[in-house]
């Protein structure tokens, strides 16, 4: 069976900066800033107003529609004001500023027994806890726990690839919270009514693999799949291909080939919600890069400003060039250290000029290095040219909308052409066109 996919690249891993550092709790910040849009779909509806007291774990905003998730307060305190901010992923969102008080009071949900809990109860709990996927897209998790009844699901695949360089959060989960991960996976299996679970891990995590092998020895319906270390091995389509050999057709979902994929972090959140009654109020993240004084793995309350995190890690070095939320391949450059961490933030990187060189753009040499690494077998150079010259119809014909924007092409382009940026531009422009057409 395949243990990887075709194409992809292998950037410098840089995981050694934090891989041996256990999670630490960040001291609670004095003030947090809680965006109401921390998930794909519609922003949550605020239930509180200025001056209201809130308790840790209390729901302060309710979901608005099918693809939305509630927001809970990560601290006990008082609502200072509401404001409008730009989130780490560059979306404008309403946000609530909460001033923390010293009262240590929480409002958690009732703990449930993971063995006896009913299927419907798990889904309901995941929904109540506001859990969103932690692989990057922040899709409300409960939706993925209830596949359409006409789809037969064979596997739940737990994504522990962590193929982005620098990030070691999922690795630390596997080492420090092995039981939680497994129990979380079992809860997902039960909720989704699926028999088999597979954990997909890249082969650059031997410690985690050893630990999992030990724990899984007595588990009959959960297996481990060791995959080649390669970016983007953790992309849904690539992971399904590597683990099952199945290919998700363009425009289709994992459901359509009998798979459900969840991130390791999501499994831990599900465990916390069911077993501890804790809503998703903490983010687990890797703070790394050669531009930060002391790289760490941290547990921080959602809504913590970047500033607090960077200060806790000793601050920024003089040669810092870029601050990125997420991994270096798909993360977002930041311009405001007051910006808050959200539920799906996986890392904060401070990169130096050496790490993020920013190559000067020159002409396309037709070298095909973008084609040879594109995991979806697209032609990035042609998509780029069509997008750049506004030939969106032609671009759509050759798969513009299929591109998952992993950035592999741009990473590998010797001419330094911002291929994926132009493709993103093309996707936005042409989806506006497609909308216009249907109207």
């Amino acid at each position: 069976m395949t243990t990887t996919f075709k194409g992809g690249v292998h950037p410098a891993e840089m995981k050694e900066l934090t891989s041996e550092k256990p999670f630490e709790f960040l001291p609670l910040p004095e003030q947090i800033c809680l965006p109401l849009s921390q998930h794909a779909g519609k922003q949550a509806l605020l239930l509180k107003k200025k001056g209201d007291a809130v308790r840790k774990g209390e729901m302060i905003a309710e979901p608005d529609g099918f693809i939305s998730a509630p927001i809970h307060s990560p601290v006990t305190g008082k609502i200072n004001k509401t404001t409008s901010i730009i989130t780490l992923t560059g979306i404008r969102s309403e946000a609530v500023i909460i001033n923390r008080s010293d009262i240590d009071e929480d409002d958690l949900m009732e703990p449930l027994n993971p063995v006896t809990v009913a299927r419907e109860k798990i889904i309901e709990r995941v929904k109540q806890a506001g859990i969103v996927g932690q692989g990057g897209a922040a899709f409300p998790t409960y939706v993925k726990l209830s596949p359409p009844p006409d789809k037969k699901i064979d596997y739940v695949i737990l994504n522990a690839c962590e193929c982005e360089p620098y990030l070691t959060r999922d690795y630390r989960f596997l080492i420090e919270k092995t039981e939680e991960v497994i129990t979380g996976l079992k809860l997902i299996l039960k909720a989704a009514g699926v028999l088999y679970g597979i954990i997909g891990v890249e082969d650059n995590k031997p410690e985690a693999i050893k630990k999992l092998e030990n724990v899984l020895r007595n588990e009959e319906n959960i297996s481990l799949k060791v995959l080649k270390t390669k970016y983007p091995q953790g992309a849904e389509k690539m992971l399904i291909k590597a683990v099952t050999g199945r290919e998700v057709p363009p425009g289709k979902l994992p459901f359509d080939v009998g798979c459900i994929i969840h991130n390791v972090g999501t499994a831990v959140s599900i465990y916390n919600a069911v077993v501890k009654g804790e809503p998703q109020i903490n983010a687990f993240l890797t703070v790394s890069g050669l531009g930060i004084v002391e790289p760490k793995n941290l547990i921080v309350p959602v809504g913590t400003p970047l500033k607090n995190i960077i200060d806790y890690c000793g601050g920024i070095k003089e040669n810092a060039k870029k601050i990125v939320a997420g991994g270096p391949m798909m993360g977002f450059a930041q311009f405001d250290l007051n910006s808050p961490v959200t539920k799906a933030t996986s890392g904060i990187l401070v990169l130096t000029g050496k790490e993020a060189p920013g190559i000067k753009e020159s002409n396309c040499l037709n070298c095909g290095r973008c084609l040879s690494v594109c995991p979806l077998d697209l032609a990035p150079t042609r998509l780029y040219k069509f997008s750049r010259f506004d030939k969106f119809e032609e671009a759509i014909d050759i798969g513009l909308q299929t591109c998952m924007e992993c950035g592999t092409c741009t990473y590998n382009c010797p001419a330094g052409i911002p291929l994926v940026q132009w493709i993103r531009y093309g996707k936005r422009k042409s989806s506006a066109l497609l909308k216009q057409k249907t109207n």
């Binding site: 410098a12 601050g315 450059a333 990169l351 396309c364 040499l365 001419a415």
Partner: protein, 324 residues
Amino acid sequence: MSNSANQTVNVISGLELSSSPHVHSKFTTQQVMWLVNLSLLPALISAAVFFGLYQLVVIGVSCAAAVLSEIVVKIIRKSEITIYDGSAFLTGLLLGLIIPPNFSLTSAAIGSAFAIIIGKELFGGLGFNIFNPALVGRAFLQAAYPVAMTTWSKPNFAVDTVTSATPLAAFKFDKMITGIEPLIIGNVGGSIGETSALAIIIGGVFLIGIKIVNWRIPLSMILGLILFGSIFWFIDPIKYPNPLFHLFSGGFLLGAFFMATDWVTSPYTSAGMWIYGLLISLIIVVIRLFGGLPEGVMYGILIMNAFVPLINRLTHPKIFGEAK
């Protein structure tokens, strides 16, 4: 606290805000071009060893003319001077290696200027040219100086029996076959940098090893040449040379490793590379065996250069997950 906060706020004003990906592979166009230049060092040495130090002067003039022409064009077009990317130098170097020994300096300079101005810059510069510029320059010289382009010098260590003709011409016109050993070492007549198979293979394998040259193009050309050469050899081993002679004689290996593999003018799909390489070899064998000229590498590559956009289009891979 407030102090360090101020510091971080200060730092952030200087931060870069470009979008992902934030990291990049180690290869840039400039590095690649200079590595290709470097990989031609063995061929350059073989040129000096077999045909004398004067050849280095010819090659030097060719390189200088290429670089200067590009500077002039860029100044006229009021665009950025790009000679540091090494591509103009490479064109000059390649052209210098595929002209006969003891070539006139003026003619070399003219050929090189033609290669850059007509072969490259007229199309819009690096990346936009359809034909390999060095081969365009050579085609021009072939037309402008037909005698000089077919006047071959004896290599330095030639024994008396070796004529000053190239092995391909000796076979074509006198049915004289040259042994494989001198062909591999390079002690035979031919263009300055193409006679030593060994020197070319060293450079070519280096480029394949560091993944600048895609192995499919040289391999498909070599397999194609052996296949088509063998067919005729089996038909009549007296009339047609054996495939190994085809492989090691003339400009085939230099063409296979350094000319046909030019990124700009070769296909970028894997299937396309196979088609392109096989067809170049077919043209070479046909010209060598049935054409008026002893050699066909230049024409084989230039002709197939013209088909590259079509080949790319026809061999486009299916998108991941689409019905195969």
